[in-house]
């Protein structure tokens, strides 16, 4: 009975890893593992929604391909952001150089003016 209390009110369920999730969806898990996954699903609204949605994908062997596609899109998004950031940095650079040159010129002119009066 202690176990049932622990199971029903447990907070410490581990997250479900992808392999286990795919095996669960394919009905490839042994009964005790299946029960363990379902206990976790009862603890997490996110995972429960995810599994309900993934169960609608037919055939299930498409899922690794879908995952790869999503990750490849993500990679592109991350690279794009990096490129924008880099472009922005390069665009900002000439102003820094121009500013430095103006300062140096001003110093030189001031120096020349001061020297001509001495």
């Amino acid at each position: 009975m202690t176990d049932i209390v622990k199971d029903i009110f447990s907070n410490d369920g581990e997250p479900i890893d992808k392999d286990t999730l795919l095996k669960y969806l394919n009905g490839e898990l042994p009964a005790d593992e299946m029960h363990r996954v379902e206990s976790m699903l009862l603890e997490s609204d996110l995972m429960n929604d995810a599994v309900e949605g993934l169960q609608e994908v037919v055939p299930k062997n498409k899922l690794p391909q879908i995952e790869m596609d999503l990750e490849s899109r993500l990679k592109k998004q991350l690279q794009k952001r990096k490129a924008i950031k880099a472009r922005r940095t390069i665009k900002e650079l000439p102003w820094v150089y121009i500013f430095i040159i103006i300062i140096i010129l001003l110093i030189l002119i001031s120096f020349a003016v001061v020297k001509s009066y001495l």
């Binding site: 009975m1 202690t2 049932i4 209390v5 622990k6 199971d7 029903i8 009110f9 447990s10 907070n11 369920g13 992808k18 999730l21 009964a31 005790d32 299946m34 029960h35 379902e38 206990s39 009862l42 603890e43 997490s44 609204d45 996110l46 995972m47 429960n48 929604d49 995810a50 599994v51 309900e52 949605g53 993934l54 609608e56 994908v57 899922l63 879908i66 995952e67 596609d69 999503l70 990750e71 899109r73 993500l74 990679k75 998004q77 991350l78 952001r81 990096k82």
Partner: protein, 188 residues
């Protein structure tokens, strides 16, 4: 630090590192953990694979560009909220959704984690037995099969004749009712 070591980092650690140096490599480790899960959530609400893929991409876009604006303490619950919000906007035809963040949603997504800790478990055993018998018969049956006899959903459908949806619903409602009953007793 190598990639394997980074993979061991928690979601919150990865997020903190991203917020600290804004290096996308941290999001590149964090977000793939959720790609399939988010696709599942989007499938549940949108019922279309192409829409679900595009919606996940939209969610990633929002995360990449806007996460720094929010005080996210539990990434998992935050991204779940973002995903549901995105699906809702997608259904309404507004693909460019706004993240609506409520500080109260900084709680963990796990239903249990949103509820108070029930510390004195031993004391609760009698209460639990008493309360299980107060549940509706169908909830009682599903709770007993699932938690006591460790049966899977599929086995319970066979044993009881209930549909899978009914089993899940009886378990969720039974569990919730038990928690309410136990919490009320605890507070008394």
């Amino acid at each position: 630090m190598n990639r394997d070591k980074n993979d061991q980092l928690s979601d919150e650690d990865l997020l903190q590192r991203f917020l600290h140096d804004r290096d996308n490599k941290w999001l590149g480790i964090l977000l793939p953990r959720y790609s399939l899960i988010l696709f599942g959530v989007c499938m549940k609400y949108l019922k279309n694979e192409d829409d679900a893929r595009d919606c996940v991409q939209q969610i990633f876009f929002k995360v990449i560009n806007e996460i720094h604006k929010y005080n996210v303490q539990h990434f998992r619950s935050w991204i779940y909220m973002v995903a549901k919000n995105a699906c809702l906007m997608w259904i309404r035809g507004q693909k460019n959704f706004k993240v609506e963040w409520n500080e109260n949603l900084n709680l963990r997504d796990d239903a249990n984690e949103q509820k108070q800790h029930l510390s004195e478990r031993e004391k609760m055993l009698d209460l639990l037995q008493e309360n299980i018998s107060k549940l509706k018969p169908e909830q009682q049956a599903c709770i007993n099969y699932f938690y006591l006899q460790k049966k899977s959903y599929a086995e319970i459908t066979t044993l009881t004749g209930y549909s899978l949806t009914q089993v899940k619903s009886y378990l969720q409602n039974g569990k919730r009712n038990l928690e309410i009953m136990m919490t009320n007793k605890n507070e008394q």
